[in-house]
């Protein structure tokens, strides 16, 4: 158990690790699914191709969609893409980076399914047994075309009466499996070559831009998490306060009817602080709407200056084009935007 906890903690350490972990699990699940799936070739002339190609391509599509669904980052990316601009400009490079990283991870399990399918060979033999050239195999010289087609389509079925002892069955099966395995290895080699080139050549192009997009996409992810945590905390304190007030009001009613001295409910200073002044439903709704419609600009340099009593705003030591956020009241959508 300790071992699992350690491995679990390692993968949880950041969201990229979590995604790598999920990716690996999906890949293993893909292999396990293939081995436990009971492949059942119909051995009929037109059905073979449909069944074979269906088994080769439909489960990968399902696995791909699974990979997209299980990835938390897809939601973050969609949100970033679709949000109104508000106080923070959108950077398409970040969205592209997130999209490509999501796609790469989601593609692993489908690719593994296709490669395992090809290396195993059953699917390929089933799909293409009707398409081989009967002249390569002398045993079909005396059969009519329809008969040949029927016999060929029965090649994948070892126990079929017609083909059980046919001399060409094993040869055809072997021939097709050989092609299937060659195709599988070629696909694997091509993909690994592409991955290798992508990995080694990427730093040669726009490394600075890459560092930037990686940092900000990580930032967006972390910000979303922290915002959710802050809201959770707020919810808890809000609920607590709500209930305390309810009890207080009940006590007051009781006090009016009888002569008990109510105990002063202790309002935790700490909790009030956590509520940060947001103390009713409408205010919270306004805050959440504002978070979506008008995300704050990426500038936290004016923190202490905001808190002066009387609302004075001292002039800043340096002003640049970036933001003078404190000077105008915040509306739903503002025209000022921070430059990327």
């Amino acid at each position: 158990m300790d071992r699992f906890r350690m491995i679990f903690q390692y993968f949880q350490s950041n969201s990229e690790s979590v995604m790598n972990g999920i990716c690996g699990l999906l890949a293993l699940a893909s292999v396990k699914m293939y081995t436990s799936f009971d492949f059942n070739c119909p051995c009929l002339p037109k059905y073979n191709m449909v069944y074979g190609l269906g088994i080769m391509f439909l489960p990968p599509m399902a696995l791909f969609l699974c990979g997209l669904i299980l990835n938390r980052q897809s939601l973050v990316m969609l949100e970033e893409w679709k949000r109104p601009t508000g106080g923070r400009k959108k950077d398409l490079a970040i969205i592209r980076y997130m999209c490509s990283s999501i796609m790469q991870r989601a593609m692993i399990a489908p690719v593994i399914w296709i490669i395992v399918t090809l290396l195993d060979g059953k699917c390929f033999v089933c799909a293409f047994s009707g398409s081989i050239d009967p002249e390569k195999f002398v045993e079909f010289a005396n059969a009519t075309p329809t008969q040949t087609q029927l016999l060929l389509s029965k090649v994948p079925c070892k126990d079929d009466e017609l083909m059980k002892n046919h001399p060409a069955r094993k040869a055809i099966s072997r021939y097709l499996r050989c092609w299937s395995q060659a195709l599988g290895w070629s696909v694997l080699l091509t993909l690994i070559m592409a991955a290798f080139l992508a990995r080694s050549l990427r730093p040669c192009f726009s490394q600075a831009a890459f560092l930037r997009t990686r940092y900000w996409s990580n930032y967006i992810d972390i910000e979303q998490k922290i915002f959710d945590e802050a809201c959770c905390e707020h919810t808890r304190d809000f609920a607590h306060q709500c209930i305390l007030h309810f009890f207080e009001s009940m006590q007051r009613e009781i006090k009016l009817r009888s002569f008990h001295v109510p105990r002063e409910a202790e309002v935790g200073v700490k909790e009030e602080d956590h509520l940060r002044g947001i103390t009713d439903q409408e205010q919270m709704n306004k805050l959440l709407t504002s978070w979506y419609y008008c995300k704050p600009p990426l500038d936290v340099s004016q923190a202490t200056q905001r808190q002066t009593v009387g609302g004075e705003r001292p002039s800043m030591p340096w002003t640049d084009s970036l933001s003078n956020r404190g000077n105008e009241p915040q509306k739903g959508k503002t025209s000022r935007q921070t430059d990327v």
């Binding site: 300790d2 071992r3 350690m6 390692y10 950041n14 290396l119 060979g121 001399p167 094993k170 040869a171 072997r174 050989c178 395995q181 060659a182 290895w185 080699l189 690994i192 991955a195 290798f196 990995r199 080694s200 050549l201 990427r202 730093p203 040669c204 490394q207 600075a208 560092l211 930037r212 940092y215 990580n218 930032y219 972390i222 910000e223 922290i226 802050a230 200073v269 602080d273 940060r276 002044g277 306004k286 805050l287 990426l298 500038d299 936290v300 340099s301 923190a303 202490t304 905001r306 808190q307 009593v309 030591p317 970036l322 933001s323 956020r325 009241p329 915040q330 921070t338 430059d339 990327v340």
Partner: protein, 338 residues
């Protein structure tokens, strides 16, 4: 469990150890892949050689490239090679060392595959069954077969069930002959690889040991520096997000005219702590400049300059920012009247 944790931590301790671990896993995976792979010789004259050699050589290539792909140092090597010189000179010896160490590790899994394949013998038998010396092993003058026919028959040697040339050359004899050659090749290959590894290891200290120590140190340094930079960026992003959200809540507060403020003593303390963690980088533009500068102009490998000139790490564009955003230090002197 403790032992496992210790091993895990040891392997994680630096990139090289981690890669050794991955290397071992890939070697085992390579052997496992071979035994799980269902070898299927086509037993047709021209296909045999292609299939056999393909299975002998394509998976090792895949494993070799996979060894590079799994190694984080590949992008680090490319980055170090392609970066602008900035304030830090590039050392080709370090790059060569990194490349050699990566290539050596990536070669292990392919070598295991090739050895296992040759020692098992199926692949070799499939590829070279048509080249069996019929004069030595069988009955060449049997029924005056044409070359093509003979090749067709010989191609079926690996396939027990369909072999029909028992009179030409006994299948068992040919199979044994081919397997014997295959295993001899396999053991020679293993011996050669081991000998090479031994020579490289034993003789290297005789040449340029000092330069080797230097390259090893600086390549570890580059690796650790990159990791620490990524960690620092992540920590910074976390703190940035926290402060950003705190300020957002406060602004909402203010805009809704609620007039609630934290107790004034608390604010500077909390915000001050968080601001310290931000290391003076408090807006998007500055962060972007920092990241660009990290690539275009890495800092020199000279630490004493930092103490003398506060925050002189990134020269050029962001100099005035770093100067004004660092907290001022107070110096107090005491005089004693003795």
């Amino acid at each position: 469990m403790d032992k496992f944790r210790m091993i895990f931590q040891f392997l994680q301790s630096n990139q090289e150890s981690f890669m050794n671990g991955i290397c071992g896993i890939m070697a085992l995976a390579s052997a496992q892949m071979y035994s799980a792979f269902d070898f299927n010789c086509p037993c047709l004259p021209s296909y045999n050689l292609a299939y056999g050699l393909g299975i002998l050589l394509a998976p090792p290539l895949v494993l070799f490239l996979l060894g590079f792909v799994m190694n984080n140092n590949v992008s680090m090597l490319a980055e170090e090679w392609k970066r602008p010189t900035g304030m830090r000179q590039k050392d080709p010896a370090v790059l060569r060392y990194m490349f050699c160490s990566m290539a050596q590790r990536a070669l292990i899994a392919p070598a295991v595959w090739i050895s296992v394949t040759l020692l098992d013998g199926k692949c070799f038998m499939c590829a070279f069954s048509t080249s069996v010396p019929v004069e030595k092993l069988g009955n060449r003058s049997f029924t005056g077969l044409s070359e093509k026919e003979m090749r067709k028959i010989l191609a079926r040697i690996p396939c027990k069930e369909i072999y029909n040339g028992q009179e030409l050359v006994a299948r068992e004899v040919a199979a044994r002959y081919l397997r014997c050659i295959s295993q001899a090749l396999g053991w020679s290959f293993v011996l050669l690889m081991t000998m090479l590894a031994f020579l490289v290891r034993a003789l290297r200290p005789c040449f340029t040991q000092a330069a080797f120590l230097k390259s090893k140190y600086w390549s570890h340094y580059i690796d650790i520096e990159r990791k620490l930079f990524d960690e620092t960026c992540t920590k910074h992003a976390k703190t940035f997000a926290k402060v950003c959200i705190q300020q957002f809540f406060e602004t909402m507060n203010k805009d809704m005219g609620l007039g609630h403020t934290h107790s004034p003593e608390k604010v500077p303390l909390e915000e001050g702590e968080e601001k310290e963690k931000l290391l003076g980088i408090t807006d998007q533009g500055t962060m972007n400049k920092l990241l660009k500068s990290w690539h275009k102009c890495k800092p020199p490998l000279r630490l004493h300059q930092e103490v003398l000139q506060n925050g002189n790490n990134w020269q050029g564009e962001s100099q005035h920012h770093s100067h004004t955003s660092l907290p001022r230090k107070e110096i107090v002197t005491y005089y004693s009247k003795v």
